[in-house]
Structure formats: structure tokens, C-alpha cells
């Protein structure tokens, strides 16, 4: 047994030495004398690790909760101009991501058990360098975090990027606040009964509540009492609830919620909270008669520079709100007119649009493929197939 245990490494070393000798022998036998310099191949090269350039607006971060192996989630970095994979991060159990407005840090809310699925639980915000994709530090969330199929509004940075807000349900609902400049846990704010976080200012956020209202919270980073103001209901949470994935733009302060039946609730980020100012419908009578309705997971995207709203739409009956979209409908958010219908070869769960002036539209399918379109001409630029196991969320810079 002892011999058996030791044999493989010894054999391995011997084998390696033999291979080395052989390769040298072959090189010697062939010789390179008299060959033109361009025909002489480099026989040894340095094995390096890639470092990414500065984050590009055309990059998209694809969060894969890996449903068949939930404790081993991943976030892929994809260059939309390929499309091609640039790198990956291992991110624990049902994570969430936030991208720093200065593009210098990626914040990932992660959960780990010491022995994989057993042992002590740790919930952390891990700081990643977006160029090396290596963790550079972490802040522990002592009250935990919300464990759920990842949804973007579980984690968000305040409008100036200073505080990271992590929604928690234990099942009492709180919001954990982390100062990302000092890399310090500030505390948990108890906001009874309401869920998700939509930052509205440097130290304020709104949350969705069961009665169809928003609650507006202003916190004191020094630990003083938070100010919590209840809003009035703006939608009927029984008959036609709004999807969790809203489109919120830090750039122009516009916010769009969409309901199961295709009603848009448009709002603005105000110092006192998120203010719903208007309501309109994505579908007209004809669309409705054909059964068109919004659905999927991250079903909305908004391009702030052109005020365009992108929505995943499918044909189906009531309670098909998680059905992937067969088309992307594009709306002018000012005139509320539909500008285009983009058919999808692979029905999509999630959508994102880059925030630059030559925007790309990303559609993520249930079959783990990412299709990239020119977000102005809607020309298909390419598809990346086999992107992980069950990719679910998309993040771009400057959202």
C-alpha cells in the first residue's frame, strides 16, 4: 500500500524526465542550422496570466447561478464585440453583483458554507479587481443576505457609489449597508414587510411593499435612526403586480416598472424617494387580443442616452410571467411609441443594453446562449452558445 501510494509521483517524475530527454533528443536530431530565421520556432514560452484592459462599455457580466450545482455559481465576463469570454469569477451560493460607477471594482454578494454544503455560514461582499478578476478584500454581512434565485434589485449601490445596499430576508426583512470606500459594514436597517432595493440618492432608497406601494428610506451612515416614509399604492398587487426587475437609470434618473399585464409605471429618482409620475401600456388592443405580454426574468432594459426602453414579450395566457420572450419590443420612452419588434431565434429570459453611444443589446436565452444585437439597427452581431449551465442575469457598466 505504501509503495503503491508513492509509486505514481516517482513514476511521474521519471516520466517527465524521460519526456524532457526525448524532446531534447528530437530537437537535436532535427537541428535548425541553415534554416531561415522565420522557420525557427520558439521552443519555449513564458506561461502568463491574462490581465484585462479597463472595463469597456461593450462588456457584459453574465451571472450564472448554476442551478444543478447551486453552491458553485459563476460570473462570466463577456466582450460583446466578439462575442467572446474574457474571464470568470467563482461566486458561491446565489450571488448578486454590483458594478462600481468608476468601473474600478466589482462587488459580489456571496454566501458560503465552510464545508461546501455544511459548516458555518458566511455571507460576504467580495471586492474584485475587474482587470485581474481576483478578490481584493471582503466585508462580512453579519445578518446574512436574501437567498433566492438571483434578482438584480437584491443588491445595489447608492447613486454616488459609496454605499452598497444588500436586501435580506431572514424572513424578517432588512437592508444591510456597507461603506465600500472604507470596506466597512455600517449596519442593517429594518424595513418591515417590504422587499428589494432601488437606490434614490447618496443615502436613500425605495423598496416595493405587498400592498403595491413603495417605502422610502433615508439612512444615517453614522448609525442614527433611519427615516422611513410609506408611499401610497401605485399598482394593484393582487390583480396585476409589477415585475421585480425594473429599469432604473442612474444617468438620467428615470425608472420603469412593468406589470404582468404590460402596464408601465414610470417614475423618477427624487431626493425624497422614487416618485411614480405616469402610467401607460406596452400593448394595444390588437396586441392584447393576440396574447402578447411581458415575461422572463430580467425582462427590461433602458438605454439612457436615447431614452429607449427594451422589453421581452411573448404570447401566452395569465400567469405566464416567467415565460421567455420571443421578441424584444423597443419603445421610445418619451413618445411611448413602439419603434421596433426584434424577433429572437432563442427565446430570452434576460435583456441588457450597453450605455454607450453605439449600444449593443444582449439577449440571454434559457438554452444558455447570449445573442448580441446592434441596439440601433437590431442587426444580429453574433451568438455565444453554451455559456455556462443556467445563466440568468446580465450587468453592464454605467447602468
Amino acid at each position: 500500500m505504501i509503495r503503491g501510494r508513492w509509486t505514481p509521483p516517482l513514476f511521474g517524475v521519471a516520466g517527465f524526465a524521460l519526456a524532457l530527454q526525448l524532446s531534447q533528443g528530437i530537437a537535436q536530431e532535427r537541428g535548425t542550422e541553415g534554416l531561415p530565421p522565420e522557420a525557427v520556432l520558439e521552443v519555449s514560452e513564458e506561461h502568463t496570466t491574462a490581465v484585462l484592459p479597463e472595463m469597456d462599455p461593450h462588456w457584459v457580466y453574465v451571472l450564472d447561478p448554476v442551478f444543478p450545482h447551486l453552491i458553485a455559481s459563476k460570473i462570466y465576463v463577456v466582450d460583446g464585440d466578439g462575442p467572446r469570454i474574457l474571464g470568470m469569477m467563482n461566486t458561491g451560493y446565489v450571488p448578486n453583483l454590483a458594478v462600481a460607477p468608476d468601473r474600478n471594482t466589482l462587488f459580489v454578494a456571496e454566501t458560503y458554507y465552510a464545508r461546501g454544503t455544511r459548516g458555518a455560514r458566511t455571507d460576504v461582499i467580495t471586492y474584485y479587481d475587474p482587470r485581474t478578476l481576483e478578490p481584493t478584500g471582503e466585508t462580512v454581512l453579519p445578518r446574512g443576505r436574501f437567498l433566492v434565485v438571483p434578482k438584480k434589485p437584491n443588491l445595489a449601490l447608492t447613486t454616488d457609489g459609496r454605499y452598497l445596499l444588500s436586501f435580506n430576508m431572514e424572513p424578517a426583512t432588512t437592508v444591510s449597508v456597507v461603506d465600500v470606500r472604507e470596506r466597512r459594514y455600517v449596519g442593517d436597517i429594518e424595513v418591515p414587510g417590504c422587499a428589494l432595493v432601488f437606490p434614490t440618492g447618496p443615502t436613500s432608497f425605495s423598496m416595493l411593499c405587498p400592498d403595491g406601494s413603495l417605502v422610502h428610506v433615508r439612512f444615517d451612515p453614522e448609525g442614527g435612526e433611519p427615516e422611513i416614509v410609506d408611499g401610497e399604492p401605485f399598482f394593484d398587487s393582487e390583480a396585476d403586480p409589477v415585475f421585480e426587475h425594473a429599469a432604473v437609470s442612474r444617468t438620467d434618473g428615470r425608472v420603469f416598472f412593468v406589470s404582468y399585464e404590460g402596464r408601465v409605471y414610470e417614475g423618477a429618482l427624487q431626493p425624497e424617494g422614487l416618485d411614480i409620475v405616469a402610467s401607460w401600456s406596452l400593448v394595444n388592443e390588437e396586441d392584447r387580443a393576440q396574447g402578447w405580454r411581458p415575461g422572463g426574468w430580467q425582462l427590461l432594459a433602458y438605454h439612457a442616452p436615447s431614452d429607449r426602453l427594451f422589453v421581452l414579450m411573448h404570447r401566452g395566457g395569465p400567469w405566464t410571467h416567467k415565460q421567455p420572450g420571443e421578441e424584444v419590443w423597443v419603445f421610445d420612452a418619451n413618445t411611448r411609441r413602439r419603434l421596433a419588434r426584434v424577433p429572437l431565434a432563442h427565446p430570452a429570459l434576460s435583456l441588457a443594453v450597453s450605455q454607450d453611444d453605439s449600444p449593443l443589446l444582449f439577449a440571454l436565452s434559457e438554452a444558455a446562449s447570449l445573442t448580441v444585437f446592434d441596439a440601433v439597427s437590431f442587426e444580429e452581431k453574433g451568438t455565444l452558445e453554451g455559456l455556462g449551465d443556467s445563466p440568468f442575469l446580465l450587468y453592464v457598466a454605467d447602468e
Binding site: 453552491i71 458554507y113 436574501f146 434565485v149 424572513p171 424578517a172 416595493l208 398587487s237 400567469w319 410571467h321
Partner: protein
């Protein structure tokens, strides 16, 4: 489960119930079926409409193609609002956790119609917890399923509150009463 854990859960359940009650309109209160199941006992989170009128209407569509004999299929009648890997395909059953995993003492409660007798039943969607994903028989049904700001009706949440740990293994659908 230890008495301490039970007490914590009772407190959490009570708190959630109070908070949810404060924030839910009267109309919503009367219409919904919402309960947190703790340690086998159904603790109503809200005044429960036992007639289940609205839930019943929602469950009807699923029941049209449902069957009552094979819990490894997604159209098994109790799965009208389930999401995840079916414990029946993982060494367990609709109300049995696979070996070495733990039924969550908490759950959300849906209403499904048994196509054999046409009756509506309360189903506790309780996850089995403590091992990584089973990975077999993935089903997604969304009849009456609501966003997480109405957590008692949401199927994305890891329903392992109160279990020894919060790692999701598979989804079960235990019968807990008539609606």
C-alpha cells in the same frame, strides 16, 4: 429542531405575520391564502380565505392537464406553483425529503385542485435542505405566483428558513389541508 430554534421561528413567523398584515390592503387580506408553516403547524400569516376563490381560479388551468399518480412528472396535481427539482426524483417524495436532507419547517402555501375529486387543497411548498441541488426533474409552474415583495406567494425563495442550513436540495409539495 431545538426549542430555541422553534422559539426564534415562532417569533419570526409572528413578526412576519404582523408586518405583512400591516402592509397588505384589506382586499388583499381577504383574497389571499398566505401562511407560514412552522414545525408542522400552519400559522396563518394573514386571515386566510378558506374558500380560496381567487386561488382556485388560478389553479384551474393547471388542473386541466394534471394527473394524480406520478409525482415524478411536472404535471402532478400538487405542483401547480412549484419551482425547482422534484424530491420525488431525488430519493424522496412529495412529502418526504431524500436521505440526509431536512424538510424546511417554513414554507409558502399554494392551492392546487385535485383533478380526481375537483377539490382544492392547501399545499405547503417546503424545500428539502442541506445538500447541493439534486439536479433531477426540474419543473417550473407559476399559477398564482407573485413577486418576492409578496413572499408567501413566491417560488424563487430558498424556503429553508429554520432548517439546519439554507442549501437548497429539492422541492416538495406536502398536503396540509382542504382549501
Amino acid at each position: 429542531m431545538s426549542t430555541v430554534a422553534m422559539r426564534v421561528l415562532d417569533r419570526v413567523a409572528e413578526r412576519m405575520s404582523r408586518l405583512a398584515a400591516q402592509r397588505t390592503s384589506r382586499r388583499g387580506l381577504l383574497a389571499r391564502i398566505g401562511a407560514l408553516v412552522v414545525g408542522g403547524a400552519v400559522l396563518p400569516l394573514l386571515p386566510v380565505d378558506r374558500s380560496g376563490r381567487i386561488q382556485r381560479a388560478r389553479a384551474q388551468a393547471f388542473a386541466e392537464t394534471a394527473q394524480t399518480t406520478d409525482p415524478t412528472q411536472c404535471n402532478y396535481w400538487r405542483y401547480c406553483a412549484i419551482d425547482g427539482y422534484m424530491c420525488s426524483c431525488c430519493g424522496g417524495g412529495p412529502s418526504t425529503c431524500p436521505p440526509g436532507t431536512y424538510p424546511s419547517p417554513s414554507s409558502w402555501v399554494g392551492t392546487c385542485i385535485n383533478p380526481d375529486d375537483g377539490q382544492a387543497y392547501l399545499i405547503a411548498y417546503r424545500d428539502c435542505c442541506g445538500k447541493d441541488s439534486c439536479g433531477q426533474c426540474a419543473c417550473l409552474a407559476t399559477e398564482g405566483e407573485m413577486p418576492v415583495y409578496r413572499p408567501q406567494l413566491n417560488n424563487d425563495i430558498v424556503w429553508c428558513f429554520g432548517a439546519p442550513n439554507m442549501v437548497y436540495h429539492c422541492s416538495s409539495a406536502a398536503l396540509i389541508g382542504k382549501a
